[in-house]
């Protein structure tokens, strides 16, 4: 009985693999049996061969490093500005009244609606892309930093008053640490959004190298193997960034006693 149960428990971990493996199996079967004669229907083997070719020729490495460099520079610029703006909004009533309404209107504008303006101002090159990415990373960081600082428990602020904390000591010693989980949520979202926006920027501001350009090349030349390879890579990088952020977030939550150990 217990053996059956333990098998059940062990298999549960791998249950998530069933669907993708089944899909690849059906795909492979379909292409091997010749279910479709369309030139746009490629076999898994062809995608694997293209993947190998892309890596061996160095094209893939140039594309991925261009995309990641863009992604990270946008992420750092956007989060840095976002942290500054979020802290000012969260800490200063005056600044909040001055800038808050404008920011709240600004964040309602869909990110992609900025593309025409950005392309006119900054062209289609790396500068334009990084500006777009920074914008994508900025908004969640501002919103969550500001919320975290506004929602510091009043009980803890009273403790600071009892022990005569100055304004500065209260900000550094109570408000920022208390807001840290929320600030981290903002950084996490920024990391995820900026990768989504990287592909969007490469696709909409077409020029130069990047994984998004790999997709465009594939689709322009009807090379579905290249398109599929690009999609797999985009998914894997997204998954990796997500996993990295989750690990850091869990570690921080454990320190704060938020997540169960």
């Amino acid at each position: 009985m217990s053996a059956i149960l333990s098998v059940g428990r062990g298999s549960r971990r791998y249950r998530g693999w069933i669907l993708p493996i089944a899909a690849i199996a059906v795909w492979w079967l379909a292409s091997n049996q010749g279910w479709s004669q369309s030139g746009l229907f490629v076999s898994p083997e062809k995608v694997a061969a293209t993947a190998w070719d892309q890596m061996a020729s160095g094209k893939f490495w140039r594309a991925i490093s261009a995309s990641l460099a863009r992604n990270l520079s946008g992420f750092f610029i956007g989060t840095t500005l976002g942290l500054v703006l979020g802290c000012l909004l969260g800490l200063s009533r005056y600044f909040e009244r001055l800038v808050g309404p404008s920011f709240n209107t600004f964040k309602q504008i869909s990110l992609f609606a900025w593309i025409p303006l950005i392309s006119v101002w900054f062209g289609l090159g790396d500068v334009a892309k990084v500006v777009f990415l920074s914008l994508a990373a900025l908004v969640p960081v501002v919103v969550n930093t500001c919320d975290g600082l506004r929602n510091v428990p009043p009980n803890l602020l009273e403790v600071a008053r009892v022990y005569g904390f100055t304004r500065w000591q209260t900000i550094i010693g109570v408000m920022l640490p208390s807001a840290l989980p929320s600030i981290f949520t903002g950084l996490y979202l920024a990391l995820v959004y900026s990768w989504l926006a990287t592909i969007g920027a490469e696709y909409l501001l077409v020029s130069g190298e990047g994984i998004g350009n790999t997709l465009i090349d594939g689709s322009e030349h009807f090379m579905m193997d290249l398109v599929l390879f690009g999609m797999v890579i985009i998914g894997l990088v997204g998954w990796g960034l997500n996993a990295l952020a989750r690990t850091l977030e869990r570690r921080m939550q454990r320190l704060y006693g938020i997540a169960p150990r």
Binding site: L156, R161, G164
Partner: protein, 254 residues
Amino acid sequence: MLNNGLTLENISKRFASRPGSSTQLQVLDNIQLDIAPGEFISIVGASGCGKSTLLRLILGLDEEYDGRILLDGKPIDGTGLERGIVFQDHRLFPWLNVEQNVAVGLKNSPLSARQKRDTVREHVELVGLHDFIDAYPHQISGGMAQRVAIARGLVNRPSVLLLDEPLGALDALTRARLQGELQNIWLKEKITMILVTHDVDEAVFLGDRVVVMQPNPGRIRRIVDIDLPRSRNRSDSRFIALRDDVLSDFAELH
């Protein structure tokens, strides 16, 4: 007239019944109390009698009231390190460990870094938590967290320690043990303590005097001297008689 101790002169306090409303709610009405240095005062009363509000005024968190609060003959001005507090919820900072949480009390004390460290350690030992000095609040029990809060309240060596139902959220066994510990700390440190509680047994067990308050508006009903030697025995007939006497005030109110 006491000139060093805590004096409450004609304290009255009103709240607007609703924000922005002109109708006022009288929360405290003409509270008069002289507390000698080193005295243990227990304040009991039904909820709504203003006992916790009174502590907030003494602490200096709320400065809008009529009357005067004098400490050592001088009116208090805002919060001050000579007045410590233990709240009902421990209010420890979740991102600091036990030692760092106690050290919060000394953030603005004039002691040197070394003296601060020694004083913090001393107070962690005083509440019996030296084995947990590196633990974080979520890793320790509610009773232990409340002891850390007591250590934080004491670490400045305040002349007055205010206790706002500090044991109210704990289970009966832990509460009884901490009442004993609180008494030992008071005997050792010889500072003034003002305990707000709704537990009459606790008030009589710890207090030199028990101040009974009643609501609408919050005022002092009477003050009962507890003239029993320490440590007190809860099954002593005199203890029981005093406790029943105080309890009778509540029976009439209902």
